[in-house]
């Protein structure tokens, strides 16, 4: 979940109320956000730099607040405070409007389709910034870039001082050598080609280079005087940078996903039009696509969603009147009214503002009713249908078998399914068997060698033994768990198989102890010993596996098929797993017993 840092005093000022930390925490809980941490700006910096210093009393207190991942309207102090003011009934929902007509135009060139096909724009006229508002404006763009914009791959935002530019604007895609401008925070002119090199050492920007790096053309925005606005998704031009004095702000969002570009644009304008001369009014921009179609952005239309009152009540398990539901929805920024459907049933018509892109279905309206009603005020009930408890036979059987093995004196361990290639193959003296194992494609950086899904329980038992060298002898371990094998008959191409493995370690090998365990397993599952070659019952036959000692190992044959093997672990394998005493081990597939 994304976290938003807001100054406590600015927040309370915006909320028009002072809260104790506990009171604010409660309010967050009820609304569905979380006061994650209370800190200070300097403490955050100190933490980043791993410095140890005490907090000074005059430092501004910062609240770190976790917000739901689909509520982009809560990613800045403006939206957060607005939502809480409305939730606590201090104000109603704002109405957003477009000023009458689009003055500015953005022309899209066809080449942009090759790299980043969409652009949407809007203008905030007569905005008043101060340092805090300005910082919040920049922070919101950062947070949107990280979350909804998926690190600028889907959408990239550029904001400009419109006073320094002259429309109409063009959105183009050009070879990088033909793009030349002074980028933000620089004094020199660079070509786009040079910039890609220059930013390779920039900690913040280098992670975005891959988005366009390999493309023959780079996206770029120009004004009518060929001033570069931005080179999305990398950097804006220095020329049109906004300052605290900026009055008119042009916002452009270039994208590979139009829906998300619209949400990003709407989020920025609905949050910061609060500081415009005409509060909550936005000046639209006409975007003319390469085929000549013109569209006006931002799209601030209010969607209406009709929901049966009975659906709402039935979903939550309450019996509210229309009036109550409307009051509750008003507190959630969903202004609504009561209507009657064609079938004569009561309906609630909820008006979904452009800030609430999270509302997809009537169930989202239901949730807001439930939140405003209070989850903890809902009456507890129990589902009425009678159902029968039932276990999976494989799990039921495994549990019975586990008890029997424990009764035979073995101690259960629980090991990991992910392991290294080495421990699954060559540490067991096994040849690298490419086609028997599941391989993870993206193991975690520090654990790069841990990329194998186990096909055997053996490595886990041997590793456990290696780590418990000081345990009193004999050590008797077992595990009943799943391994994964490639299987072409399954939709995903792999299947689990339930295995049982046991290990005996002492000053003597215990080969006969493990042999005895095999006999005991067969005894408790009701399978009798058969003569070699019989197709009914079980017998053991000498085997020749590399992980076992020659002449002290056997396959376990059940009804004519091999289901596992046991033997004394090969001294080389013992050394590989750092085990000092002899060990015998059995591993078998228990699914045939079912």
């Amino acid at each position: 979940m994304p976290t938003v840092n807001v100054g406590r005093d600015r927040l309370y000022e915006a909320l028009q109320q002072h809260y104790s930390e506990e009171e604010f925490d409660e309010l967050c809980f009820d609304f569905g956000i979380e006061l994650d941490d209370v800190t200070t700006e300097k403490a955050i910096i100190r933490k980043e730099k791993h410095l140890q210093e005490d907090t000074l009393e005059d430092e501004e207190i910062i609240y770190k607040i976790e917000v739901p991942a689909n509520r982009y309207d809560l990613l800045c102090l403006e939206g957060l405070a607005r939502a809480l003011r409305i939730f606590t009934g201090k104000q109603g929902s704002p109405t957003f409007s477009l000023s009458s007509s689009a003055i500015q135009k953005m022309y899209v060139q066809p080449e942009t389709a090759l790299i980043r096909p969409y652009v949407v724009c809007a203008i905030l006229r007569g905005i008043t910034f101060n340092q805090a508002r300005y910082n919040s404006f920049i922070d919101l763009q950062d947070r949107l870039h990280q979350n909804l914009c998926r690190k600028r791959t889907l959408v990239a935002i550029g904001t400009h001082d419109l006073g320094t530019l002259e429309g109409p604007f063009t959105y183009e895609a050009l070879p990088p050598s033909e793009i030349k401008f002074v980028p933000l925070k620089q004094r020199m002119e660079f070509t786009a080609e040079e910039l890609m090199d220059f930013y390779k050492s920039d900690l913040k920007l280098k992670k975005y280079l891959h988005i366009i790096e390999s493309s023959p053309v780079f996206p770029v925005l120009y004004d009518s005087k060929r001033t570069v606005l931005s080179l999305p998704p990398i950097i804006n031009g220095a020329h049109s940078a906004i300052t605290l004095q900026t009055k008119d702000v042009l916002i452009e969002c270039t994208a590979t996903d139009l829906t998300k570009a619209k949400i990003v644009l709407n989020t920025l304008v609905t949050m910061f039009s609060e500081y415009c001369e005409k509060k909550f009014e936005v000046e639209p921009v006409e975007v003319i696509s390469s085929d000549g179609n013109a569209t006006i952005y931002p799209d601030l239309h209010v969607r209406s969603l009709e929901v049966d009152l009975a659906y709402i009540n039935g979903y939550i398990g309450v019996s509210l009147q229309s009036k109550q539901v409307i009051d509750l929805l008003n507190r959630m920024q969903l202004p609504s009214e009561a209507t009657i459907g064609s079938n004569g049933k009561s309906k609630i018509k909820a008006l979904i503002p452009p800030t609430r892109s999270d509302v997809l279905h009537p169930c989202d309206v239901v949730e807001d009713v439930a939140i405003a009603y209070g989850y903890n005020n809902i009456l507890k009930t129990l589902p009425r249908s009678l159902t029968q408890g039932k276990q999976q036979p494989l799990n039921h059987f495994s549990d019975l078998l586990r008890s029997e093995i424990a009764m035979a004196g073995f101690t259960e361990v629980l090991t990991w399914i992910l392991g290294s290639e080495a421990e699954n193959f060559w540490l067991l003296n096994r040849k690298h068997k490419e086609h028997t194992g599941v391989i993870v494609g993206n193991p975690r950086g520090s654990d790069f060698e841990v990329n194998r899904v186990r096909a055997s329980l053996l490595p886990g038992l041997l590793k456990t033994m290696g780590h418990n060298k000081d345990s009193p002898r004999p050590v008797k371990l077992f595990e009943v768990s799943d391994v994964v094998l490639l299987d072409n008959t399954k939709d995903v191409g792999a299947a689990n198989e339930r295995h049982l493995a046991a290990l005996y370690c002492n000053t003597t090998s215990g080969f006969e102890v493990i042999h005895g365990l095999v006999d005991r397993i067969m005894e408790v599952v009701g399978i009798s010993n058969a003569a070699v070659g019989d197709t009914k019952g079980y017998y053991i036959a000498p085997s020749n596996e590399p992980e076992f000692f020659k002449g002290r190992q056997a396959n376990i044959i059940l009804n004519g098929s091999c289901i596992g093997s046991f033997g004394i672990i090969h001294p080389q394998v013992l050394a590989n797993f750092d085990i000092l005493d002899p060990c015998s081990v059995v591993e078998l597939n228990i699914e045939p017993f079912l």
Partner: protein
């Protein structure tokens, strides 16, 4: 105790008689060592006899510990041959000798140590030849070593000097001082320690005196195997679900396609959870071979354009992304398969549960592993309400002994409403999150073909967290994985979760 041979038994009886008869006329044996020497007894044997007599209260023995010094091998040789410095001194003829020739006359180490010492003592001159500076020397070191060998005391400074030269090492000497015990008798009647078959058959148990049992010591450890603590907790959770009428889902498929793990759950393809930072994708087998085509079309449609009253996510849904195999990130992947199957087989009310392994590509620490167990409960029925979910959760958690619950609105792509479950922790004195829950979205259920009035409520929690709290384990790796502490498994108490 090691069984004694007949000869040893006779010797032991003799020692016993000597001790007991001595105490008949004497108040105390002050020092067992001196007593042994005076009476010509082996001290070790005497000690074991005293221990036995003490056990039956014939005598009362008190420990005496003494630090004594013994010679090292080097010390021993100097005690016999003289200290190296004196050996060097004596090897120098009156007219003097070259250093090389002197070296040849002596053992290598004796020369090395002795020469340096003798120089330090200012006994020698080196120019032009090595010669005696003093006419005579006394070998104090040798004398001291001989004293130690004879068990005589030395001044503390001398002891220190010898210790420093590694010529002596300390030896802890143990012995007893011995007095009459509460059951003292001049002759011992042998007390029995156990009711044996022999005693029983001979009928001698009536006349035997039994040794007191030590009620303060622990009994003999039991033999036998042990079940794993985490799986003992799992067993209790399974019982709770079974008692509540839940049917177990088949979760033995760690490999899942993104389709069932994400897409079927209406989790959009750009969702952060689908990043490689959070999910393990597979190199082999890389892709699912087949997906349910009809259903897949409905899932694609709901993601792209919506339907069933939803506007959808409005993006270009890609089949390639759905085909990518993953190590399942939650058992809800199986729930989605089960609900789809239920819709195909014809709906009946169901309660499902599972407890099995899930995988997250996350950093590993004391409380987080890349693999853990998810506990999941699912109820599907016509007309279920959020009130039913709250009711079921209260019932479930009260069986775990958690009675104070409250719910926080939350976000989850496949449930709406979504609720985080908090319980009041009496010792921490605060509300802690214990699980997640919600009602599956219509965008997930309706494309499966479930009837419109069917709702599904579900909740999940990890198995590890309650287990760590229950058993006070602060590092999950002490319990789970190969670095486990076997003692912890063996000494772990039964899990009483679910007992009323």
């Amino acid at each position: 105790m090691v069984a004694l041979s007949d000869k040893e038994v006779t010797k032991a009886q003799h020692v016993e008689e000597v001790i007991l008869s001595h105490l008949q006329t004497h108040e105390e044996i002050v020092n067992s060592g001196e007593f042994a020497k005076a009476n010509g007894l082996e001290h070790d044997l005497l000690l074991s006899v005293v221990q036995s007599l003490h056990g039956f209260n014939y005598v009362e023995a008190q420990d005496i510990k003494k630090e004594a010094w013994v010679l090292t091998e080097e010390g021993n040789s100097y005690a016999t041959l003289g200290s190296p410095e004196v050996q060097v001194f004596k090897a120098i003829p009156l007219e003097g000798i070259s250093r090389e020739d002197l070296q040849k006359k002596l053992d290598v180490s004796v020369f090395k140590i002795g020469f340096a010492k003798a120089m330090g003592n200012k006994w020698l001159e080196t120019k032009p030849l090595v010669s005696r500076k003093v006419s005579n020397v006394e070998d104090q070191v040798q004398q001291q070593l001989v004293h130690i060998r004879n068990g005589q005391d030395l001044a503390a400074a001398d002891i220190d000097a010898l210790k420093k030269r590694k010529l002596i090492i300390p030896l802890i000497w143990k012995g007893y001082s011995i007095r009459k015990g509460t059951s003292y008798a001049p002759k011992r009647t042998k007390a029995a320690t156990d009711l044996t078959r022999e005693v029983l058959q001979r009928g001698t148990w009536k006349d035997l005196v039994f040794k007191d049992y030590n009620y303060n010591a622990l009994g003999q450890p039991t033999e036998g195997g042990h079940l794993h603590p985490l799986l003992k907790v799992r067993a209790q959770f399974r019982e709770i679900f079974l008692e509540m009428g839940f049917e177990e889902m088949p979760t033995n498929n760690f490999i899942e396609s993104s389709f069932w793990n994400f897409d079927a759950l209406f989790q959009p393809q750009q969702h952060p959870a689908r990043d490689s930072h959070d999910t393990f994708f597979l190199q082999v087998p890389e892709k699912a071979q087949f997906l349910p085509e009809d259903y897949l079309q409905r899932v694609k449609e709901i993601h792209e354009h919506g339907g069933y009253g939803s506007i959808g996510y409005g993006y270009n849904w890609k089949r390639e992304d759905a085909e990518k195999n993953v190590l399942r990130t939650h058992t809800t992947a199986v729930s989605s398969r089960m609900l789809y199957k239920l819709a195909q087989d014809g709906f009946t009310p169901k309660r499902y549960f599972s407890i099995d392994r899930v995988f997250r590509n996350e950093a590993v620490d004391r409380t987080h592993l890349a693999e853990f167990h998810q506990i999941e409960g699912v109820v599907c029925d016509r007309g279920l309400t959020l009130g039913d979910l709250i009711g079921v959760l209260n019932e479930f958690f009260s069986r775990l002994g958690i009675r104070k619950l409250r719910f926080k609105p939350a976000y989850n792509p496949y449930t709406e409403p979504s609720m985080e479950i908090f319980s009041y922790h009496d010792t921490l004195k605060k509300w802690v999150e214990v699980g997640n829950s919600g009602m599956f979205r219509p965008e997930m259920l309706l494309p499966m073909g479930l009837p419109e009035d069917v709702s599904v409520i579900a909740w999940g929690l990890s198995l590890e967290r309650p287990t760590m709290i229950l058993y006070g384990i602060d590092n999950i790796r002490d319990l789970f994985g190969h670095k486990v502490d076997l003692k912890l498994i063996k000494s772990n108490p039964i899990c009483r979760l679910g007992m009323r």
